[in-house]
Symmetry: C2
Subunit: 209 residues, 2 copies
DNA sequence: AAGGAGTTTTACCAATTGGTCAGAAAGACG
DNA sequence: CGTCTTTCTGACCAATTGGTAAAACTCCTT
């Protein structure tokens, strides 16, 4: 009797699980390239190999797909920072964070661009998560870094801006990938190895007291 | 007799000059916030205080407005790097460039976001300018930096990635402004002064041999 | 004041958009 | 096999989109 969509909740059947995944993957492709308003359900449907009404059988609306993507993303996105260990060796911890974050740009560029698009447009759909989860985590880890800084384990730096700089430098290689590759066209076919070396020396020098 | 639009060329009358400027400014607002496909002529018209057909009297199409904005932008955008003086004191030159570029993020955030949006979407409309003008200028200045590096005036760094890092770090404060402000909400009402201090020490340490 | 160029508006269009609905097809299961 | 649920489709819709046509208005020049 109840043939209505699963209301974007727990998928029950195998088919639902598979198709929801297909849709989200296709949507990630499309949204990350065109932004929310620039993407159409038809594009997503085509990319997913499904019909448009079929998309809307699995998700109640275009926005619901986008929201689902963003909320899944936020967790993955924070993982590298979460792993920063207050008990570890300070400089090594931060350098590992940089390496992990650069790895995310290399391996999940679509996610990075989706996030960038959302922020660029004023973060209408994830303001809350930024002021909440993200800010809390950042404040917590900034405090850890401040401690390291204060006891002389690393140089004195503004912890919040240190974190911003790690984000900026690593995400740049995902979000501005096209530009980077166009400029390096005749030098490096894959910018990431050189980027890793460069960022390592940069943060090493910055953090050495 | 000829009442057709001025074909996006030199404005002749005062009214044309004024209205074209108004339109471009409104379009910059809208495009920088929503991207090309996410923006509508109605939004731009409303922001400019004109009717939609009136917009299309001054510009032949939505795309023409966007292209005009981008080509105007490219020049302004390259100015800070152009000003990097091969004859100047190396470290001071680079630090000045960083300061100029950060100033652009502070004073022209809309332009920065317009550019970011375009790159994020694969740079369909400025590929040529990137491979041409931009790449040429970057290669030229990278060579200058390489020279400084080689003769020991600054530390050994990959010049291209140095330039990328300056872009990434400075543009971050324009493109991700919302995020930065949300996270610093209870600390800094204006992130830029602290950002300038932070970036100065970062590049100072990086470039000191 | 008249004429014509330059400017603006009203009314409109075809295409695309997100979304709905009734029913057809496909499984699942006894 | 038959029945019930889940999955999918074609036809459709109202709203929005970029863009046009032509008439109307404004303003400068003579």
């Amino acid at each position: 009797m109840n043939a209505s969509p699963p209301a974007a909740k727990k998928p029950r059947t195998r088919i639902q699980k598979k198709n929801r995944k297909t849709i989200l993957d296709a949507a990630l492709d499309v949204f990350s390239q065109n932004g929310f308003r620039g993407s159409t359900l038809d594009q997503i449907a085509r990319a997913a190999g499904l019909s448009k009404p079929n998309l809307l059988y699995y998700f109640p609306s275009k926005e619901a797909i986008h929201v689902e993507l963003l909320s899944c993303l936020m967790d993955t996105w924070l993982d590298p920072l979460r792993a920063l260990d207050p008990a570890g060796e300070p400089k090594r911890e931060i350098l590992s964070y940089v390496r992990r974050k650069l790895g995310m740009s290399r391996d999940y560029p679509r996610e990075s661009r989706l996030f960038a698009n959302e922020i660029l447009q004023g973060a209408p759909r994830i303001r809350k998560a930024i002021r909440g989860e993200l800010k809390d985590l950042v404040d917590e880890k900034a405090e850890v870094i401040r401690g390291w800084s204060a006891r002389g384990a690393i140089a004195r730096v503004n912890p919040h801006h240190l974190i911003f700089s790690i984000w900026a430098l690593t995400q740049h290689y995902a979000d501005f990938d096209v530009q980077v590759r166009l400029i390096l066209e005749d030098r490096e076919s894959d910018p990431f190895p050189e980027a890793e070396r460069y960022l390592e020396t940069l943060f090493d020098k910055l953090l050495t007291p």
